[in-house]
Amino acid sequence: MEKVKHFWLMLLFLLMVVIVTVGCSPDDTAGDGDGSESNDDVVEGDWEGQTINVQLIGDFDMEDSTDPITGEKTQGLQVIKDEFESQHPGATVEFTIMPWEGYTEKTQAMITSGEADVYQMPGIADFAAQGVLEPLEPYIEEDPDFDLDRFIDNQVEGWKALGPDSDELGIWGLPFLGDARFIAYDKQLFDEWGVEYLSEYPTMEEVAEKAKQMTGTNPETGEQNYGIWFRGDWSSAFTLINLAEGQNGSWGSGFAWDEIEFNFDSPEMESGLEWLLEMQEYAPEGLVSDQGSEKWLTQDNDIAIMLNQGPGDTIMPAYAQGLGERIGIVQEFKNDEGVGGMFAGSPITMAKDSDNKELAWEWMKFATSETVQQYVFEEANGMPAIQAAESWESYAEVENLMAPTMEAMSTPWTPRYPWASSQPRFILTSEVEAALTGERSAKEAVEKAQKESEEWLENRN
């Protein structure tokens, strides 16, 4: 009896082990979990049997869905997959989609374990230095069908990075998603206050003067209005750097860590921070904790000027709220050469350990073609990175907001701030916050930021 009991217990245990093993083992014939389907009936062709995995970040979906902002039906990535596979008979493309939350560590984990062939990679500078990316210059030079002129000016420059052994910036990624920083404003509030709209390239003095004029009780509605708002926490370091750029200053120089020199305590940075402290008087309370701008992009908006805005949170949401004509966009502060503002967006890169590099390169060309870029713009609320966007019908419908955005995308500070995801960014942000909350004066704050960033750099090198 006891033996029988043991037998059944062992059998049950083995059954559980088998279930767990089968359940946890990779299944080459199944989809990748994000809704993509493998093509079992591959078409005979040049790319017979080759598969690439493409990692994407953000608002992508394999299936068709309804846009939560506009309420319109959007097509899933399946159409892109079908198009690519039809252009490359026999090839299979699979997608791994991840949210923006924690994308850096997830990308690090994926690339360390060789999970994908092509990555959407905003942190390209860190990964190129690790030697895990394929340099793209040889592919570009050898491919007669590909031309870098397709991209918006400065986009390729902005994503250049240093490889593990290189001293000169090289191309490790192609621009995939465009992005920009600009100043947005509410034309209706300007009209109600009788203030002239912001000029296309405003100066700090102009913004300050108009913000001051529009703070107080609105002469028409009788509501409390605020002249300006800017985020005092997360992105405040970049807002400050742009103010320095607007005065012909800069964050510093260099790109490789052993060459970088910070300029956080320059007179331009100090006066920029002083300017922010002054502007705080014309802003609602709570900007240091990202509060006070809740009514922005609503019919009840009470803020006239918004600094350091991005297209993703502005253009389509504005049109969705019926405010497409009410909102205006002008450039961030530029230096005498017409350059200024943080470079942002997402490039796509090729993993060094990709088994199908030729197919991965084909995907990269495809992803930067009009087909995919138009899909990104119309279906995924993303900004295109190619110049041809200006000829699209969908672009024309939102041109009053898109045209200045495209202009902003072509004039940011390049190459991108190499410290944008590292400790100096958090040091500077914390010191801007300390100044905004009265913990330190502007001078003390920038000096402390400079000192701590230099110490960090010294320890790092």
Partner: protein, 315 residues
Amino acid sequence: MVKGKISLNENGVEDTVNIHDDVETIKSKKRKAALTWYIFLLPSFLGILLFMVYPIVESFRLSFFRSNGTIETFIGFSNFQLVLTSKTFWNTVWNTFFIGFFQIFLTIPLGFIFASLINSIRRGQNFFKVVYFLPNVTSIVAAAMIFQFVLHPEMGVVNYALDAIGLPTSTWFSDPSTSKWGVILLAVWHWIGFVIIICLANLQAISPEMYEAAKIDGASGLQQWLFITIPNMSGTFAFLLITGWIGSLQRFNEVYVLGGPNGSPARSIQTMGAFIYERGFTGFEFGIASAATYIMFVIILIFTFINLKVSKMQL
């Protein structure tokens, strides 16, 4: 085949008893049974080895390297030296202890008072238990997001109430001097339900005979509470104190939602956990993050040891 075993009969003459192979002794049966259960334990043990022991060991190794995930350089104790001499790190230690101290020393007495009140009512006990326990089953991330609105400088209900009764309002999370109190309020609100339920369980286990005897001796309600209830709650208080401190020292989720990895504003709510996250996962400084993790482990270990001694709790 038989095995021979020699023994003596009652007359002292040698006798042979044959034992067959298939007859198991009690000892071997026990051994086999124990082995079976070890096999059952194996999957979870492998899980612990893979997902707990290995990361702990790997993190210890990383703490001696400068590592960005792929490129590593051995630098000895430099990471520990850097963390231990970092003002930012000690600021996070201060923040962690400050928030933890006030969370615990507000919640335990408050929770105990509420539990005593609930215990003393005859009807509706379960209703109040559910109501008070609800915050504890709410996701702390969602609760933190809601608290941002509750403590909003202009639209928040707390400032509205303060203003209504003529008290000064605050900018809460926009001011380093009040942001910690915002986190403490959230932490107290979230934890108090748990404290009430644990206290109630203990209150209901106290023998009613003790109260009857006290009543006969003429003790008032307050005296009964002070001299019977509270002394009988000491074990529960010790349990809450120790688990509360361990949880407080590991605080991360709510401060990350409220202030990001650098604990805005001006690192005023950055905890040790957030410091580790900031250095490890936003700056690719895995060596520093690992060293800080081990320093945090030692701090929690020492503090828990002191707590055990102070509360005289037996492990």
